[in-house]
């Protein structure tokens, strides 16, 4: 009996945790960390403010977790692509396209967690996330260079440029609004082409 109860409880707790994370993700992607107040997260999650602190010790912790969850998920997918079949060029194209596609789908967390600086704690976590994304692309590029698919280049800089390029293309005000699926496909294509061309042709530009 006690065991039963506890199992049910466990589930409820886990569900709550997820709901909180979901609410936080939603809010942060809508208005940035600044606008994501703890109180709003709580009511969005159907809980009380106080309850939040039973799951996360502080706002910073909560959002670091939001960040990490989102990023872990992305990285997992990207890793699969990289480890899958195909040339480095394919990997690169697919990795970028895959990221952009998902970002265009959901609310654009990208903006919030890639761009916006806030408290030191969260900021540190964000830096790490960007680094992680960078690592994925570095791996791809390095492989390509080893294969002689890609020319020699500053891997760090290229990876940074890639992450920056698709981030801006996703969240920035430059690219036109992307409502229709077709438009989205075109954007995905454009961005991934851009990155592939850049890496493939690196050194060419001089």
């Amino acid at each position: 009996m006690a065991y039963q109860r506890s199992e049910k409880m466990e589930q409820r707790l886990a569900a709550n945790r997820e709901r909180i994370l979901g609410a936080a993700r939603k809010l942060v992607s809508k208005g940035g960390l600044r606008e994501a107040r703890m109180g709003t997260v709580a009511s969005e999650a159907g809980l009380s403010t106080g309850a939040l602190y039973r799951y996360f010790p502080s706002k910073a912790d909560l959002f670091v977790d939001v960040l990490n969850a989102a990023v872990d998920h992305e990285i997992l997918i990207l890793d699969k692509i990289v480890e899958g079949p195909g040339s480095a060029r394919d990997h690169l194209r697919n990795a970028v396209a895959s990221f952009v596609r998902r970002a265009l789908r959901g609310p654009n967390l990208a903006y919030a967690f890639i761009a916006e600086p806030t408290e030191a704690d969260v900021d540190a976590a964000r830096m790490l996330c960007r680094k992680q994304f960078g690592e994925v692309f570095k791996r791809i590029i390095r492989t390509g260079i080893a294969n002689h698919e890609f020319p020699e280049q500053d891997v760090d800089a290229s990876a940074a440029c890639i992450v920056g390029a698709f981030t801006e293309a996703l969240v920035g005000p430059i690219a036109p609004s992307t409502r229709g699926t077709k438009t989205q496909d075109r954007l995905i294509d454009a961005v991934s082409s851009f990155c592939v061309a850049a890496v493939v042709g690196a050194g060419t530009g001089a």
Copy 2:
């Protein structure tokens, strides 16, 4: 008899205004708008809080000015490059390189004003700024396409990617710290090469 609107005074006022802008720029580039408190700006500028409001009607106004001043300066320089001699490819390369070079020099405002969302007022201004940068690159790309220097491509997306690429390369945590002048030159080169290659090879990557 009347108050001497002496030249010295004028200068002092102008100097104050500059010191305020300078302090604001410094603070915003260090910790983002969030951390740039009016009080801190004031003391950094060697003035009292109240004095700030003689020069700028509100925090938002002050930082919009900081933003605009920085951007106007950049755009001016980029425009000169675009209107100067050389191929579109040169323009592109030089525009990127020039921006990145200056950004690496001064405090990296780029971060603050390209990325961080804040109050509606400032945000609107920032959107405009990014758009402005985008326009510069769109012009370059369009010219290059007309010249058959560059292949057909999604100009909006490419411009967005360029802005994103160098922004991230500048402020992001992916590229290694760039202290030495030599390292900086390498980064400048890498980033501008990346962008040029991307635009030149666009459509190639498919």
Copy 3:
């Protein structure tokens, strides 16, 4: 399991709200709106500043409520008198006497809410209040005129004079301090007599 919206809690909240209103009333009647700082209201009510904003969205709202509560209460009483038995003259006398009596009892809100101008919000509310008091007296006077108890007269002006008369008599520095009950009774009598005589004898004075 869920948060107990216990009766005790409800009561405590209601009590807090009352304490806030009470504190606000006290302060405003002592030094006017100007001196009634939110911080002072809070500590007077035994709460923190922040807590006030859980009960009232802003200073203006709080004081509009103070005003309305006080006035509603008064108007209710005055209305009862007007609708009760007796001649218009009796109604007039009793209405004035009743108001003055209660005003002398509690802190003299009259001053604050009838006289002092402040923020637009509160001001609008105050104007309404004064108008409300005016209406009560207009009704009385109109009835009396219809009855031929009172001579024809400018009802608006008379009502205004009545409200002004007892307000000044209550809060002004002209009438001597009224500490003793006997003195108070005398004042009540004097003021109500004054008003009755004025209305009864209107037009006589020419």
Copy 4:
């Protein structure tokens, strides 16, 4: 020469003082003390903020002077009426009518300086002013009682009521807006009749 200069100077200084007082009066009667900022007074007077402090040691002092000047002027006129020919009833009627007439003319200082509470300093002065007005009416009433023109009554209370009555009739929102001259005459008549009737009939009302 030096003498000449000094005389001219004296005049200019006196003129400045008057202009400041005038500006202050205008502003206070428009928006109350609260809205009458020193800076605004200064520019309205065609001077600088600092200059104000050469004529008046503080905001409170300035407005106390404004108040006193206005009141002295009134009292002088009222005194003349009281000392002139006619019955006490005439004096009373004329005094009230005269005050109301002038108040309706100029900007309604009455409101600001009779009603609105502010800093302790100014407040004290205002209390005195109201007392002064009260004294005038007390004198009239006492004389009338001695003459057996008026019945015995609480002189203090009656005087307070009179001051309150015309103040409210002047500034309150109860009496309809008084734009036309004819309307104004009617109001003057109504208010003075009201007061006379009240004093004449005092004690009648019981």
